[in-house]
Assembly symmetry: C2
Amino acid sequence: MPVSTDPGITQDELRLAARNHGMPLEALRWPITPVGLHYLLIHYDVPLVDPAAFRLEVVGAVGQPLVLTLDDLKARPAVEIVSTFECAGNGRALLEPRPVSQPWLNEAVGTARWRGAGLAALLEEAGLASDAADVVFCGLDRGVEGEVEQRYERSLPVAEALRAGCVLAYEMNGGALPPQHGHPLRLVVPGWYGMTNVKWLSEIRVVTEPFAGYQVASGYRVRQTEDEEGRPVTRMRPRSLMAPPGIPQFETRDRIAERGTHLLEGRAWSGRAPIARVEVSVDDARTWADAVLLRDFDDAHAWCGWSFAWEATPGDHVLCSRATDESGDVQPLEPEWNLGGYENNAVQRIRVHVD
Amino acid sequence: MPVSTDPGITQDELRLAARNHGMPLEALRWPITPVGLHYLLIHYDVPLVDPAAFRLEVVGAVGQPLVLTLDDLKARPAVEIVSTFECAGNGRALLEPRPVSQPWLNEAVGTARWRGAGLAALLEEAGLASDAADVVFCGLDRGVEGEVEQRYERSLPVAEALRAGCVLAYEMNGGALPPQHGHPLRLVVPGWYGMTNVKWLSEIRVVTEPFAGYQVASGYRVRQTEDEEGRPVTRMRPRSLMAPPGIPQFETRDRIAERGTHLLEGRAWSGRAPIARVEVSVDDARTWADAVLLRDFDDAHAWCGWSFAWEATPGDHVLCSRATDESGDVQPLEPEWNLGGYENNAVQRIRVHVD
């Protein structure tokens, strides 16, 4: 991935930003993100899929290959989970130098209620071969990336694919899966960064060698140079975001708030361990105080609400929040740079002018 | 509005692009744009509105002021229309020098089925004063723009507000209005640019002097300099867009297609007169041939489908489409520049490499 030291976003980056979009941060006020406000990152094009003609194939190192219609999947016991998704590239455009790709600021996040068939039961039905290594999930979307023509494909190690909670989802927020979220079927892997949740899922292929496709071996790796093998991007690091208080200035999105008490509200999540603590700073990360946590969901990988009463005094302020998960991992104040601009969970800063 | 000759998009523009978004052009294949793929331009924040507490007030120069609940509006005869919306700033980021605001390329468009109460009947019920001049529509969204703190407010001349077809919509595509499209109520004015369709509509105010609020007197005016009064932006100029054929290159969004016949598909619209003709060029606007028109909707201000069979030969091609409406207005090859970057309906160019 090329990097840029120019503060100006390129036309290539703008073309990506014009079609993909973050969740406007005021939507943190909804525990379940309304359809259309959830972030979207689509590598290639949204395919137009006829649900009646759709088939999911389970192939490769299995005892019994399967070909399933959507009705076959709906006839299986349904599983429902609330899961927070965050793009692995969230925060990329805040890095210096800037990796040139989808130029996310802070907003590439959303939470939905997903309903579908359990993945583990389906794999057990197909019967995994004893030497099965990875499970590859293939979408119907095709494009060229890093000079490789490809379908979008991502894999999980067998143990991860079998653990409780992975869903082959055909519903989002109580309605049919929308086209842009993978209609008619997508994978949902709670706790992992968003690229894992393969959309327009049409094939599950069990392989006996570690999968070396582009989106695992080249894309979504944390490394400093192209020559380095690096490590794969997997589970979400802890992060918190705040719904900006007051009202926005249109041109800059800076905030203007009235003096007095504001209830600051936001959400926090981690794909690695439950959220243990959220702290708020109203003085640009010099001092911190604990926020009140509000656990809306039992689901381990749904975000957790928080609130904090702020006594706003006239002047310019910088507000921040910082999450810590039960593994002890805490958001850093400054990002850790890498070539692809992944996993930037540095603390958000919101500038507010109080009259 | 400031302008920039720097090709790089600024951080201010990026903050707007990260939250607002266009319609990915492959979504032109749907006659009704699915929720979440329709373009969005939100000046301030999406407000969180309690529909039970919501009231629409009709005030000002009327015989009988009204205060209506959502149920009151739903008890009235329902009107349903299909209407194409396009942002007045669509194409702004393709202008040189570039007006610095939401940096749209070509994608700020979408078509929805709107259902609600007719505006004209409601205004007749309230009884317009004989000296009524403008009808002002006020949203619940607040912010600072051009240094003016404001609610989002736009007006229509009385004659325009009374003409058939304006709807106070509480449904979109058969479901409740989503938050980002104005839940629980928005104005829909067929044929006008998108800024006219005031979201989160909570007040209709009839005034006896021409309305001089920011979004009419300062914003949304076609002019060359800040000193000039200019003319207001009103109805959409003719425009056509094409769903790009083949598959995309991720980083550049350029297209790669196979040799052979491709059915090029797109849509065209005008807010001024029905679409009379769509032409396609496969040689970068040097020669043109007529596309086949497919009128999906009876609604005068819904877009019109078109298709064209393209015999793709190896090499690099630039594809274009051009709409003409029944008033004789035709899309220009090059944009007409203005300070706000409005009404840029210049012909779209799609680069395609055929193997």
